[in-house]
């Protein structure tokens, strides 16, 4: 089985490769001259020529492609058109913020969603259950940025509890956390809604299973029964839900970072798109794709930890 994971890990390379190719072609093959966009419609032909030479746009496509790939392999992701800074540096600077956001959001989502889901399943058809189901429905229906705005208004602005702009000094952990609360809640609560729904439905199924009755008959305490036997088996679809949401989460990061003016890959990407800063756009999307693939791989690993009976062969 270790072989399986090693194989999956190695597979990441062609996947990233494929994404790179797709991104490259999407950006270069679709009609439209980026130089005019960058310099404006009334740019002088000389300026256009100059820029094209700089960006090597007149080279044959395959040459641009190989340069592109080469650059990546050397970890030179090009220079930003907006400010000339090396893209690698730009990304490295904001990456920790996005990573923080993703991790803490996931923690929030799981920590809130799973217990609520279990409680809901146990208290089936009570007021608590109905309310939590409605709330979770609202949760999955709200666009992440709207939730962010609401939280921002209520907790940040009116109650003044949390900062609403920026990311805080990376060095200072407390400050980092402080700046992270609202953004992570914005995404985490939505994840919590999904997780709660799935947890509830899985627990409902599992509670009725015979092995639960056996466990109770054995005289084990209710809590042990629920957590050890029930939850363990229900965890797999729950982890699947989280895995699926990861994709949305990275997209959501873009939105949340915009709402809170928080530095991060998302904001970097959006700003770059607005400014038609192609090198940055390409690089960011590729890093995103890599992260998604990596996360999926990690989650598969988690599957096997949860349920040792799963063996990939």
């Amino acid at each position: 089985m270790l072989k399986y994971f090693i194989r999956r890990f190695i597979l990441l390379i062609p996947i990233v490769f494929f994404v790179m190719t797709v991104v490259f072609f999407v950006m270069h093959v679709i009609p439209g001259d980026p130089t005019y966009v960058m310099l404006g419609e009334n740019a002088s032909p000389e300026a256009v020529q100059e820029l094209r030479k700089n960006l090597k746009l007149d080279d044959p496509l395959w040459l641009q492609y190989t340069d592109f790939i080469k650059g990546f392999l050397e970890l030179d992701l090009g220079k930003s058109i907006q400010n000339g800074m090396p893209v690698t540096k730009l990304i490295a600077r904001v990456f920790p913020y996005t990573l923080d956001l993703t991790v803490v959001s996931t923690i929030f989502g799981t920590a809130i969603g799973i217990p609520l889901g279990i409680l809901s399943a146990l208290k089936r058809n009570t007021l608590f259950d109905s309310m939590s189901r409605v709330i979770s429905l609202v949760g999955i229906s709200a666009p992440p940025f709207f939730l962010g705005i609401c939280l921002l208004l209520v907790m940040g602005y009116y109650l003044g509890l949390f900062p609403i702009v920026g990311g805080g000094d990376q060095g200072n952990i407390l400050e980092r956390l402080h700046y992270m609360v609202l953004p992570s809640l914005s995404m985490g609560l939505i994840l919590a809604a999904y997780v709660m729904r799935m947890t509830r439905s899985c627990m409902l199924e599992v509670i009725r299973e015979d092995y639960m009755r056996t466990a109770r008959a054995k005289g084990l305490g209710e809590a042990v029964v629920i957590y050890k036997h029930g939850l363990r088996n229900a965890l797999i679809p729950i982890v699947t839900v989280i895995a699926n949401y990861m994709g949305h989460m990275l997209g959501g990061a873009v939105l949340i970072e915009t709402v809170y003016s928080r530095p991060g890959m998302g904001k970097l990407l959006v700003d770059a798109i607005m400014a038609r800063d192609y090198p940055v756009v390409q690089a960011t999307i590729i890093v995103f794709a890599f992260m998604v693939a990596l996360i999926n791989l990690i989650l598969d690993l988690v599957y096997t930890i949860i349920n040792p009976r799963i063996k990939y062969n």
Binding site: L137, P143, I149, G247, A289
Partner: protein, 301 residues
């Protein structure tokens, strides 16, 4: 079903029985779960609003009035005005047109492309299918919003491009979804019968496979419309979608962010509209899912 001498009469009576049955079933379901009924009502109202916007909206959504800018509700403006003095309610009503239209069109596009590709891929099988699924897997690993942003960035921001971007981003999901039922249908004997009868492949795919696959897709299509609406809102919110002064829920929200301190209601009302629409669709979609397999689980969860 009694044996009636006249077969034609028997047919007519039989059909009446069936129609009655479905209707009664639908009604009883609605009575049991009022939430679903309410959601359907909300949805119809939204659609009605969107279709009849010019008659429903109290004001012209583009009409600016700098005297009355940034007012909370009052003075004929039920929901207040925005930064340009435009009536918020009217803008939201007109915004429904675009947001709902984009949601429906993008989902329709994705379902069309995805389902046909998925069916063909599963039908043909072999290497073609393997490659297609590999591509689909990789595309699906990519966050949908980012994919949309990438497409919008290259194509440019316009209504058509937004629909196109969301549609293309959602299509892989449908490819996967259409594949599973096709694979099991492929093994059915009526497919062999169709071939034995000399029916051409295109006919088999469109008249025998497709009708049997669509059933399993209805629920997903409904839920995806919700996702498409959120996607459009997100793209417009980032300023990359349909641009003002044309109103969509997303860009109303975006304008509202700039005025968050002075006039938070702009964003809140727009956002609430989105939540209402998406929530209703989700509730109806969930209900549809429950109707579709009533036998799978004993009681409604």
């Amino acid at each position: 079903m009694s044996d009636i001498q006249n077969p034609v009469l028997a047919e007519v009576l039989h059909k009446e029985e069936i129609k009655e049955g479905y209707f009664k079933l639908a009604l009883s379901n609605l009575r049991k779960y009022p939430l679903v009924g309410i959601s359907l009502l909300v949805l119809f109202s939204l659609v009605f609003m969107a279709v009849f916007a010019p008659w429903v909206a109290p004001f012209d959504p583009y009409q600016q009035d700098f005297v009355k800018r940034l007012q909370p509700s009052g003075g004929g403006h039920l929901l207040g005005t925005d930064a340009f003095g435009r009536d918020l309610l009217s803008r939201i009503i007109y915004g429904a047109r675009i947001s709902l239209a984009v949601g429906l069109m993008a989902t329709g596009l994705a379902a069309l492309i995805g389902t046909v590709l998925g069916i063909i891929s599963a039908y043909v099988g072999g290497r073609f299918d393997g490659i297609m699924m590999g591509i689909v897997d990789i595309l699906m690993a990519f966050p949908m919003l980012l994919f949309c942003l990438l497409l919008v960035a290259t194509l440019g921001s316009s209504l058509q491009n937004v629909v196109l971007a969301i549609g293309i981003a959602m299509a892989p999901r449908f490819v996967r979804l259409a594949r599973a039922p096709t694979l099991s249908i492929k093994e059915m004997e009526y497919m062999e019968a169709a071939r034995a009868l000399g029916l051409p492949h295109y006919r088999i795919v469109f008249f025998h496979v497709l009708p049997n696959v669509i059933g399993s897709l209805i629920v997903v299509i409904t839920l995806q419309v919700a996702a498409a609406i959120i996607a459009e809102a997100s793209i417009s919110f980032l300023g990359l979608g349909v641009a003002p002064p044309v109103a969509t829920w997303g860009n109303i929200l975006q304008e509202g962010v700039g005025q968050l301190r002075n006039a938070p209601w702009i964003s809140i009302y727009a956002g609430t509209a989105i939540v209402l629409a998406v929530l209703s669709i989700n509730i109806v979609g969930d209900a549809l899912r429950d109707i579709m397999d009533p036998k799978l689980k004993g009681e409604k969860r």
